[in-house]
């Protein structure tokens, strides 16, 4: 009897020790890329976690530099392309991104358009200064968009016309998509990559769902795993002048702000697609949004101020 009790005690101690120990390694870090903070959190018991982590950071920094339209980095990037109408040789990662952007432009019937750079600049300034005279030349800028194009030959890109490229509507999402490939290659399943709070890549939380809160929707919590969540909203970047709302999600076809929605949440599996769609949808009719989401298996939650307009989640 005494031996049985001692054995039970020993087993109990072993159970306690095993449950307390963890073979999982956690890597968390916040980096600054794409002019925002990127919170990286990955957990794995595999030996390659350090290598995976390093590759992820390098990828994010690489895409951030390639997509920068404000400064020339140590390589040819969007800034370089925007300052010439000649062919520019660029990294193959940027070529793939541009090709994806052009594909998404077709899928959204032109409501997503990366040649919106000059129009974006006008609205950024308008939000800062509230100077409506900035909109005086907006039709010319839209004409420039319509008359411009991007040509790709191998690893060479040429901008045709006066419109400039702005990858703000796809850069983070595309980078997250590439990060996801690295994670899958390294067989890492527990991860949460938060790119500026507007594009979030979720693995599983050690086999369970992540709890995802929606900023402008009180008390709503989504339980998700192996998904991407993206949002577009005008709540943080807008100005109201004479009762009219001006914001940064401009219609590239008209050069003006459609004010159909205030916040759009999208949930799906393709970070790049969701990033572009969340920009495009702001200027699309609700029925077109629903049709495209159904075709692409995307969940949507769409608000106009506090009114829930549509959801299939």
């Amino acid at each position: 009897m005494c031996r049985i009790i001692k054995t039970l005690l020993l087993i109990l101690c072993c159970i306690i020790c095993i449950s307390c120990s963890s073979k999982d390694k956690v890597k968390t870090e916040q980096i600054y890329a794409f002019n925002t903070t990127i919170d990286i959190s990955i957990t794995s018991s595999k030996d390659n976690i350090d290598e995976a982590y390093q590759r992820i950071k390098e990828l994010l920094y690489l895409y951030s530099d390639l997509c920068d339209r404000y400064a020339q980095k140590d390589m040819n990037n969007i800034y370089t392309i925007n300052h010439t109408n000649e062919f520019v040789e660029v990294d193959s990662h940027l070529i793939s991104l541009l090709q994806e952007a052009l594909l998404l432009q077709t899928e959204t019937n032109g409501y997503f358009n990366i040649l919106i750079g000059e129009v974006s600049n006008i609205y950024k300034e308008l939000i800062k200064t509230s100077d409506l005279s900035l909109l005086d030349g907006i039709e010319d800028k839209v004409n420039d968009i319509n008359a411009s194009s991007i040509e790709i030959e191998g690893n060479n890109v040429k901008r045709v016309g006066n419109a400039t490229i702005d990858l703000g509507g796809i850069a983070k999402g595309y980078a997250l998509k590439e990060v996801e490939k690295v994670l899958k290659e390294c067989e890492i399943t527990t991860y949460l990559i938060n790119a500026g709070y507007s594009s979030i890549l979720l693995g599983s939380k050690s086999g369970k769902d992540y709890k995802v809160g929606l900023r402008y929707t009180k008390d709503t919590v989504l339980n998700l795993q192996n998904m991407v969540v993206t949002t577009s909203s005008i709540e943080e970047q807008k100005v109201v002048i004479d009762g009219n709302v001006y914001h940064h999600l401009v219609n590239p076809k008209t050069g003006y702000c459609e004010n159909k929605y205030s916040t759009i949440y999208l949930i799906g599996s393709d970070a790049s697609q969701l990033d572009a769609y969340s920009t495009a949808f702001f200027n699309m009719d609700l029925e077109d949004i629903k049709r495209l989401c159904e075709a692409k298996n995307i969940k949507y939650i769409i608000y106009n101020n506090t009114n829930l307009l549509a959801s299939n989640n």
Partner: protein, 132 residues
């Protein structure tokens, strides 16, 4: 008789271990649920973590993000806000009081953020898209 006493003592010992474990587990889970803290991040570094539980009144404090940048914060039990910061857009100040991990205070201009941790809420909050 002596043997029975030893057996009884061993049984009591095992029961005591189990009960202690359960109590410790309960205390830990309860403590996690009640604690709320605010972490101030600046360029990948944690500058300060502030315990927001049981704060006496409203506290104001200057936080030096680096040798050149100082922000002034105010906090009370369960909430925090930024009173002043040398950024251009003052988005961090406009955010106002935040008492939830759903509403982090973010300053893209200076590159800092204040994030609340509340264990019984969410892992991440989907926020907004900044045009860059």
């Amino acid at each position: 008789m002596a043997k029975k006493k030893i057996i009884l003592a061993n049984i009591i010992l095992i029961v005591a271990i189990i009960i202690t474990s359960l109590i410790l587990l309960l205390i830990t889970r309860t403590a996690n649920k009640q604690s709320k803290s605010a972490t101030i991040w600046y360029q990948n570094n944690v500058i300060k973590t502030i315990d927001l539980s049981g704060v006496d009144g409203v506290v104001e404090e200057d936080i030096a993000l680096d040798e050149n940048i100082t922000i002034r914060i105010s906090y009370k039990t369960g909430a925090i806000r930024v009173l002043s910061a040398p950024c251009h857009t003052h988005d961090c100040i406009k955010t106002g009081w935040t008492s939830s991990s759903r509403k982090p205070i973010i300053c893209l201009d200076l590159g800092y953020k204040i994030v609340l941790s509340d264990q019984d809420e969410v892992d991440v909050v989907v926020w907004t898209k900044y045009l860059v």
